[in-house]
């Protein structure tokens, strides 16, 4: 809301403060002054008269003028096309500063001719072009003949000496949208009294109303019409235009301007109908229409059931509280007007205005709430101005449906409540002083202050609201700094600790943490989904801003692939990323951990030469390390090869992590088609249901006594069918060891010509150990032979010769 300081100064004495000081005071108290705007600005200005005007001898567009400024006659070179002898003009004298153009005028010589100032256009003085004609925009301002030569306040003469405060009221402060109500806020901020804000209005000879009013909707409980006849459309007087300009509203004609003036002053939106254009004199407010409608702005809007409309004979003539209609618009030949002042339901106005994307000065006020006690006054004021400024001959009585709801219930405030909530030491005198400043009716009864907030302060319901008034006007400096003493203990939950442990582990392995958008594009949303919940219905936005951010992701891998692509194209082909984030379906919430190792391990030492592509074992190792760190034994889960028709993962080098029938993770290489889709190179990934993982029970660490007895070991190289997974071999070794194999692991794998096609060779290290005695070859040899026999029997394994 832009508000005119000149207008405010009519009701509140602000003479002690500069606009900046005033803005600071208001802002500190809670209504933010977002900007201070000057209608026009310039120092060292004076009104002069052009005595002579001739062409510049050395230019095709400049003029040389002699300008009388009363005390002197100045020679000024002027470039404006419209400058002419006899004009009264605004002269910026040497050293004048024009903030709009950021120029300081200096004496000078222009193409050989001395120039002692500048004749100004309004644009150069900073007037917004929206208030100016094309001629005014392109040339110097020509003043009327009544302008006085030598007047050093040309902006005041033009009514351009106003300052506009751009207020940014919080949504609860509808009162700020009225000059009258805001005067009380301003007065309280600077401890002054509001004066003369209401006019006494008396009409000598009101005639009975020619209108009828009715409301058929609960969305309108108060609807008033006042008829005014024989008005004359013309230009508004200067004072009215100035006030409107000071509130950033352009003057149209006297009728429209009066409507805006009364709305700005009282906060009650008015609507002016051309009484001769409406099809009957019966106004009916309804909410049961479903049709198209052309509003004042020439746009067709679709009206739905629930939207408040004002109708005549079943025809809409206004969208209630939002915008009037083309069909009943006041125009240059309007003779008789009907002024509407109504109260429309704020929720419904908000709903309609959002749906139609139509926010007007009127709807803004209805949404924030209107002081209903001003309904009748607003109509009277408008009618009075129509008489004074539009020569109206006949004023009708106001006809009203319903009654204003004015709820100003007294609130009892104790000093305990004030100081208890604030932690302050205010006295009752301090508290009472605040409400006196605010001009809230108040009365001290024993220890209790009975405060009745005025009807325009619709944000005040209860004691805490009054406490806020006290602290905001007394100043927050009155708060001391104390510290709440409670018995709470801060600690992380099991989930938070587990998450932290995993994050720090992955960071320590050189993997960067990603943080991506949760909303993704349709193109990505179905990729890399392997857990059963990921097949549930998508969370889709009803009204997405863009297609890029329409679906809540169900998995994180597509985001990581996208990040890999981004980094790959920014010259990084060693991309290690992990992300932990919540994902959603319409049925469930899951927290996922995903890791991506993209490209080659480039992080070689300066004296290492070989780069290695990330492979299955790189990613598997990260996952198993995490499981080990969490104490999750191998018997708590199994790795299961993914199905052969999987389209997301490399079917030969990917597996699910499974417990019972639940798949809670996937580890693997990305399918070549997906690499192509995301335009990246080789890439190993995993995705794990983090909360499932952290819910798996692990037993507490337990000390096992150390054995001092020596171990003995054997290395074997087995040739087996290449489809046999090594874990089966290890299991068979252990099963046939009489409990004497303490460790057995693969330390090399070979496929190639030396073992024949379809075969592979596994090199296995077997450690024999007993806690009871030192093992001798004579004890180990038979067991070792037994193991080799079992391997041969089960897998056809032969020792590689």
């Amino acid at each position: 809301m832009d508000i005119s300081l000149k207008w405010l100064s009519k009701y509140v004495d602000i003479s002690e403060y500069s606009p900046k000081e005033l803005a600071d005071k208001i802002t500190v108290c809670g209504v933010e002054v977002e900007d201070i705007k000057y209608l026009a600005q310039g120092s060292n200005l004076i009104i002069g008269e052009v005595l002579e005007c001739s062409s510049h001898p050395d230019s095709d567009h400049l003029h040389v003028t002699k300008v009388n400024i009363g005390s002197d006659i100045l020679q000024i070179v002027c470039g404006a096309p419209n400058v002419a002898k006899g004009q009264k003009v605004i002269v910026a004298l040497p050293n004048a500063y024009l903030p709009a153009k950021d120029i300081t005028i200096q004496k000078g010589v222009i193409r050989g001719i001395e120039s002692n100032g500048m004749i100004c256009s309004l644009v150069e003085l900073g007037v917004d072009k929206k208030y100016l004609t094309e001629e005014q925009c392109n040339g110097i301002e020509v003043l009327s003949n009544d302008a006085k030569v030598g007047d050093t306040n040309p902006l005041g003469y033009l009514g351009l000496d106003d300052v506009i405060f751009e207020l940014k009221p919080t949504p609860n402060r509808g009162d700020v949208l009225s000059v009258e109500s805001f005067s009380y806020e301003l007065a309280a901020c600077i401890n002054k009294k509001v004066k003369n804000v209401r006019e006494d209005i008396k009409f000598d000879n009101l005639v009975p109303s020619s209108f009828e009013v009715d409301s058929k909707t609960p969305s309108c409980h108060l609807f008033s019409i006042k008829g005014v006849r024989d008005v004359k459309i013309k230009e508004s007087p200067k004072w009215l235009k100035e006030y409107l300009n000071g509130c950033s509203i352009r003057s149209i004609n006297n009728i429209v301007d009066i409507g805006n003036y009364v709305m700005l002053l009282t906060g009650q939106p008015l609507h002016m109908y051309d009484a001769d254009k409406i099809s009957s004199h019966k106004f009916v407010v309804r909410d049961d229409f479903d049709c198209d409608y052309v509003a004042l702005d020439d746009t067709t809007y679709h009206i739905e059931k629930g939207d408040i409309v004002i109708t005549h004979n079943d025809n809409i003539s206004c969208i209630g509280g939002i915008m009037g209609g083309k069909n009943s618009e006041v125009s240059n030949d309007t003779k008789n007007v009907a002024i509407e002042a109504a109260i429309f339901d704020s929720i419904q106005v908000r709903k309609t205005s959002i749906r139609l994307d139509l926010i007007s000065d009127s709807s803004t006020r209805f949404v924030r709430g209107i002081d209903e006690s001003r309904n009748a006054y607003a109509l009277d004021l408008a009618a009075k101005l129509l008489v004074e400024l539009a020569d109206a001959k006949i004023v009708e009585e106001t006809v009203t449906f319903g009654n204003p709801i004015v709820n100003s219930k007294p609130i009892s405030l104790t000093l305990n409540r004030v100081n208890g909530l604030l932690g302050t030491n205010f006295t009752m005198k301090d508290v009472k002083d605040v409400f006196d400043r605010l001009a809230f009716e108040n009365k001290l009864e024993k220890d209790t202050l009975i405060v009745t907030p005025p009807s325009y302060r619709k944000d005040i319901f209860d004691t805490e609201d009054l406490v806020e008034e006290v602290i905001r006007l007394k100043g927050f400096d009155n708060l001391v700094s104390t510290y709440p003493i409670t018995s709470n203990v801060g600690s992380l939950t099991h989930l938070q600790k587990g998450r932290k442990l995993i994050r720090y582990f992955l960071l320590s392995q050189g993997i960067d943490e990603a943080y991506s958008y949760s909303l993704i594009h349709n193109d990505m949303k179905d990729d890399f989904l392997s857990m059963s919940f990921q097949k549930e219905d998508d969370v889709v936005l009803l009204h997405p801003l863009t297609e890029d951010h329409k679906y809540f992701r169900k998995g994180l891998l597509s985001s990581l692939l996208k990040a890999y692509n981004y980094n790959y194209y920014h010259e990084n082909n060693d991309v290690k990323l992990f992300e932990i984030s919540n994902v959603y379906t319409m049925n469930s919430e899951h927290e996922l951990l995903s890791i991506l190792l993209g490209g080659k391990k480039l992080n070689l030492e300066w004296n290492e030469k070989e780069n290695q592509d990330y492979n299955f074992y790189h990613i598997k190792g990260l996952v198993t390390s995490i499981l080990e760190k969490l104490g999750i034994n191998e018997n708590r889960y199994s790795l299961v090869r993914i199905e052969e028709d999987n389209k997301d993962f490399h079917i030969g080098a990917s597996c699910y992590i499974k417990t019972g029938n639940t798949i809670w993770g996937v580890i693997g290489m990305v399918h070549p088609n997906m690499l192509k889709k995301y335009d990246v190179l080789n890439c190993a990934v995993c995705e794990i249901d983090l909360r499932y993982l952290l819910d798996i029970k692990s037993s507490m660490n337990k000390f096992v006594p150390l054995s001092n007895l020596p171990s003995t070991s054997r290395d074997i190289a087995l040739v087996i069918d290449e489809n046999i997974d090594s874990d089966k071999i290890i299991r068979t070794i252990k099963k046939n060891s009489n409990g004497l194999v303490s460790k057995a692991y693969v330390f090399d794998e070979y496929k190639g010509e030396h073992v024949g096609s379809g075969k592979k060779s596994l090199a296995i290290h077997i450690v024999y150990h007993s806690d009871k005695e030192t093992l001798k070859d004579s004890m180990v040899n038979p067991i070792h032979e037994n193991i080799l026999l079992a391997l041969n029997k089960e897998f056809g394994a032969k020792l590689r010769s």
Partner: protein
């Protein structure tokens, strides 16, 4: 007996290498050495002379032996030393790289605040990002049609299901979970969503952190003291906080909270962080609205509380001089590598 001890000791002293010394050892103490030969003659002497003769040879032998041992230690030390000298490396070549990952900047900032608040006795609470209108708005004293809903343009999924536009619903859930039993002291970091077009300073997804304390005598002065502690931990010991009146539907009184500028301390009129005002707006806060307490199961005539909230992006951007919020969501490794250091 003709043994020149002094010559032997001189030769030992002059040995240059362990090999030379070893040869001398054989020469002076070996089976064919003069001492051995002399000793072997003992038997040829008269019995009464034998003891003195033997003792004399043994003294010499001991003296030679200890001279060789001492020389051996000395030569070994010299050998090690010269080996080490030969093994000199270029200490300016880089050390091997134990690669380390960087935290996401937003998570790093949350971690930092989490440490502070856990230390102050707060519990870290989490809640769903796909949330019900009930918790996101209604229990926060923002009924349907309330103009405050215009402050936060929200992504809806169904009429009653939305992407949370603030972390406040976690406050509502925590209150219900407490079942009317105070004290509550919690904070809740998390992702939130609003219908804002993405540009340098706006993001449809961003990160908030709110705190809530409820007990019998919690006052606004307690809020101020608490925020001072947090501001000083985060931004330096000299920070002050300033309250400005504001409005949030879920608090009354409500304030915007400024922290004195950590970059210039209010001393630089052209400071890019505080724009020369000396203050930066960092938090919103206030006393929990009685309606919110009531809906959360706490009797507002008995209990009071304060709540505060901050934008993690804003804090990170201010502290690190990041001018485009999209840098926080780009997953650009070049950005990550700049933030290896933990604050």
């Amino acid at each position: 007996m003709d043994i020149n001890k002094e010559t032997m000791l001189t030769e030992i002293e002059n040995a240059k290498t362990l090999n030379e010394l070893n040869e001398l050892k054989i020469k002076f103490l070996g089976k064919k050495s003069e001492l051995a030969i002399a000793m072997s003659k003992t038997g040829t002497l008269p019995v009464e002379e034998r003891a003195a003769y033997g003792a004399k040879i043994n003294v010499i032998r001991k003296e030679i032996t200890s001279a060789i041992d001492a020389k051996q230690i000395k030569l070994e030390e010299e050998e090690v030393h010269s080996k080490l000298i030969k093994e000199k490396v270029d200490i300016s070549l880089p050390g091997y790289n134990y690669s380390q990952g960087s935290k996401a900047i937003l998570n790093a900032t949350i971690d930092e605040i989490t440490d502070i608040l856990i230390g102050m006795g707060y519990e870290c609470k989490e809640g769903p990002e796909v949330e019900q209108d009930l918790y996101n708005f209604e229990m926060m004293n923002v009924p349907k049609g309330h103009p405050a809903r215009d402050m936060q343009d929200t992504f809806y999924i169904t009429e009653n299901l939305l992407l949370r536009s603030q972390t406040s619903p976690v406050q509502a859930r925590s209150m219900l979970e407490a079942n009317g039993v105070a004290p509550i002291k919690m904070f809740c970091p998390g992702k939130v969503f609003r219908r804002d077009d993405d540009d340098a300073t706006h993001s449809h997804q961003f990160t908030q952190m709110e705190g809530l304390v409820i007990d019998k005598h919690i006052s606004m002065s307690d809020l101020k003291g608490t925020l001072e502690v947090i501001a000083r931990k985060m931004f330096g010991a000299k920070r002050e906080v300033r309250f400005r009146s504001s409005y949030f539907p879920f608090t009354e009184p409500s304030v915007e909270v400024d922290v004195s500028c950590f970059a210039c301390g209010g001393k630089n009129a052209s400071c890019s962080i505080c724009k020369g005002t000396g203050w930066i707006e960092i938090l919103g806060a206030g006393m929990v609205h009685p309606n919110v307490l009531k809906m959360g199961g706490f009797d507002p005539s008995v209990y009071q509380g304060f709540a505060f909230g901050m934008g993690i992006e804003r804090i990170a951007m201010l502290r690190y001089g990041i001018d485009d919020i999209r840098n926080l969501y780009s997953n650009d490794i070049r950005v990550a590598k700049q933030f290896l250091k933990e604050e």
